[in-house]
Amino acid sequence: MLSRVADSLYWMSRYIERAEHTTRVMAVKLESMIEQTPQDAAASWSRVIEALTGELTLDATQDAFLTTRKLAFDRENGAALITSLSMARDNARQVREALSNEVWENLNRLYLRLAPVTMDSIWVHTPARLFREALEDMHALEGVTYSTLSHGEGWYFLELGKHIERAQLLGRLLDVHFRGPRDGSQNMPKYFDWLVLLKFCTAFEPYTKLYTASIRPQKIAEFLLFDPEFPHSVRFSVDRVTDALARVAPGAPPARRAAVERLAGRLKASVDFGQIDDLMSGGIAGFLADITRQCEKIHETLYASYITYGAETVL
């Protein structure tokens, strides 16, 4: 596979994952805010903004309308839903020949549907509805991707992009909930916020099946970090990354392959053998930061090994 094609597939997939994450968080947030006091809703918005954009907002009275615009439709915002989708589509367009018609058309149609949406038009109805519908389209996109593309090297680059991104997004979301507020206020997440966190990750029902409906932060952390079977757990994504790395660049020199696989193995070990009790006694922020760092390192090494390597090194 051409390195440039692998690069575009990888980024297309990362951006789609980011868009889907944003969409899901927005849908849940807009649905749940009506049940919160204004203060709690504002604190919750602050966490969402930080998780999605990395920005620290000290303003405790977040306006839902403006925040939604910023997070979903503001093209100036590099992390906005529409920006991610547009980037995903630009990458897809560059590798049209590596995608099926179905994948391209689903993605293109989704973008063309969301591109002209104005805040006023969604605010007159139930704002969450647009995000729910977009989420359905994204699930359809995921479905056609799974069922119309050969599960060869290209597909595994999509997997890599999706799960490296997902692990990091999850890490950030957990971090803002477990680390406590940075603005010095005492707005620690409450019972309802933990429930919402599970819903941000479509994890509520899978969680209750395992732990019953008793909502306990420690169990939530354990589930979202270490569950081996739930698709939105960090460990699940790390497993997919490890699997995918074994399937890409089959002809690459062993030394190059080893460099990436070693890093993935190390990351896998830290989530396979992580103990939630150890983490809860103070180390969760450090652990999450370490996961993020390891993901970044894997990304860099993946690129150096298969995509941006100097031609002179192989001639």
């Binding site: 596979m1 051409l2 390195s3 440039r4 692998a6 630009d90 367009r93 560059q94 049209r96 020949e97 018609n101 391209w104 058309e105 293109n108 149609r109 063309l112 090297e153 890409v248 660049a249 089959p250 002809g251 690459a252 020199p253 298969y306 995509i307 390597y309 031609a311 192989v314 001639l315």
Partner: protein
């Protein structure tokens, strides 16, 4: 969504699609042809007395019976489908990038088996002569020594590539992919307006339009025995393969300028349809005169490049050094015979305005045959007899400077003032070699759906000729349409659209 069904039950058969059920639509009178103007130009659908030609009877019968809303609905569904498929080009203004589809018309343009036979034989003859000519001027130069074509015209052409001299080209096939623009004159004969021998585009629209017309009129399509064109990518692949001696395991790539090029959709489309790599200049590198692509597993050798980049940009070491699209060292790899480039470099010398005028003579010179398809009548001012004719008829002719394009250095005689004509006449006399003249060109008109009915619009015809170890012309073409009423400009950049072309089996 892509395969939205337009058809209602009638589209799958029934009495109404049988031609000649008694109802005769009159252009300029009956809906939907109330605004259909028949003028001096040849009309594809109606004879001068307003009778629908037999080939269009089935279409006429179907179109006349479909309510306008239904035609509009089908038109919109087509546009949606193009947008979703990404069959678009991007227009930039004020930092705003807008994606537009190239408008496509529902109604097919029909070419009879007899007409096609002549076109096919004529274009085959023409591509042979043009390739012989290219081989000649890049090797012995016999045609120049014999004085058939003036030496200065070739060596002075900015598309002549000195670097190509003496380089062997497989099968002598310099031009492997050609798109010739034909028009139908007032007498109803097809003539060649222009040959595109460099990087002709549009074939993806030919194929996309087929999808459109077939879905818009399924029963009519089926009843008429339209010849298939879907094998074009296979033929193209075979043509490219025939350029290398190794037929097994040939590694072929399409070289595209990238996603910002207006024909990018076509490049990606052809790569997918043929199952070959789509590469950009930055994916390729040359080492020891061998071309490689950078893959995730390492470097992979490339044997044949179907380039969709102009000569000038292909190799910054040899041609334009500011080109970021090309590949340094590519030309040397080509010269060394380690990679085939298609079309060969330097083919543009044979499609400029001056050489165009010589093509009929080239056919006689190389093939000892009379041209089966004529050129648009062209007067070369470098020849004394023609010069006198041109100077005496400036009010009837279009005069063009051979080195110019895009309408510069041009006199449109019938629209110019007496003073302008006199001024231009002096220019011609002072440098006759630089000018050619043609009668004002009429394009035929064809029925085109315009929203509130069907009107006549000017069309041309671009078939695609493949030429490797053998010559193949898929029985179809891109019919370009000037969508503005009365306009003769069919270019997509200036309000042109396109429509499907049905070549009939008998």
């Amino acid at each position: 969504m892509q395969h939205e069904v337009f058809a209602n039950t009638e589209d799958f058969g029934g009495p109404d699609i049988v031609a000649g059920t008694g109802r005769i639509s009159k252009p300029g009178v009956d809906a939907p042809y109330a605004n259909y103007e028949l003028g001096k130009p040849f009309d594809e659908m109606f004879s001068p007395d307003g009778q629908a030609r037999a080939t269009y009877a089935a279409i006429d019968s179907r179109v006349s019976r479909l309510p306008l809303e239904e035609l509009n609905r089908r038109q919109q569904a087509v546009e949606q489908s193009f947008l979703h498929q990404g069959i678009t080009f991007t227009v930039y203004n004020d930092n705003q990038a807008t994606e537009r589809i190239i408008p496509t018309d529902l109604l097919p343009r029909i070419v009879t088996a007899r007409e096609w036979d002549r076109i096919e034989r004529g274009l085959t003859q023409r591509i042979h002569a043009l390739n012989l000519f290219l081989r000649d001027i890049y090797t012995d130069g016999r045609v120049l020594k014999d004085g058939v074509v003036p030496r200065s015209m070739i060596y002075g052409s900015k598309h002549y590539r000195r670097e190509m001299r003496g380089i062997p080209v497989p099968h002598g096939a310099y031009v492997n992919i050609c798109g010739s623009d034909l028009i139908r004159n007032e007498a109803g004969d097809f003539v060649v307006l222009e040959d595109n021998l460099r990087v002709p585009s549009g074939v993806s629209y030919m194929l996309a339009n087929r999808d459109v017309a077939r879905r818009a009129f399924p029963a009519v399509f089926r009843s008429m025995g339209v010849r298939p064109i879907e094998h074009y990518p296979l033929e193209l692949l075979a043509t490219l393969r025939s350029l290398t001696p190794f037929h097994e395991d040939v590694s072929i790539a399409i070289l595209t300028p990238g996603v910002f090029n207006s024909a990018y959709f076509e490049h990606a489309f052809l790569a997918r349809q043929m199952g070959v790599e789509l590469v950009e200049g930055r994916d390729l590198l040359v080492n020891d005169n061998v071309v490689y692509t950078r893959t995730t597993s390492g470097l992979k050798r490339i044997d044949v490049i179907y380039r969709r980049i102009d000569d000038d940009f292909i190799d910054p070491l040899i041609f334009r050094e500011d080109s970021a699209l090309g590949v340094p060292g590519l030309f040397n790899a080509y010269r060394a015979g380690n990679v085939m480039i298609s079309n060969a470099l330097g083919t543009g010398v044979a499609d400029d305005k001056a050489v165009y005028a010589y093509v009929p003579r080239l056919i006689r010179y190389y093939l000892s045959e009379e041209p089966l398809i004529d050129n648009v009548e062209t007067f070369l001012c470098r020849e004394e007899k023609s010069l006198q004719h041109v100077l005496g008829n400036l009010d009837k002719l279009v005069v063009k400077a051979v080195g110019e394009s895009g309408g510069y250095g041009m006199l449109i005689g019938p629209h110019a003032s007496q003073a302008e004509r006199e001024e231009f006449g002096r220019k011609i006399k002072s440098d006759p070699d630089n000018y050619i003249a043609q009668p004002t060109i009429q394009l035929s008109t064809a029925p085109t759906f315009v929203g509130n009915g069907v009107e006549a619009r000017h069309v041309d015809l671009r078939p695609f000729i493949l030429h490797g170890s053998e010559t193949k012309i898929v029985p179809g073409a891109l019919t370009r349409v000037a969508l503005k009423r009365g306009s003769l400009v069919v270019n997509s950049s200036q309000g042109g659209g396109s429509k499907d072309t049905w070549v009939l089996g008998q």
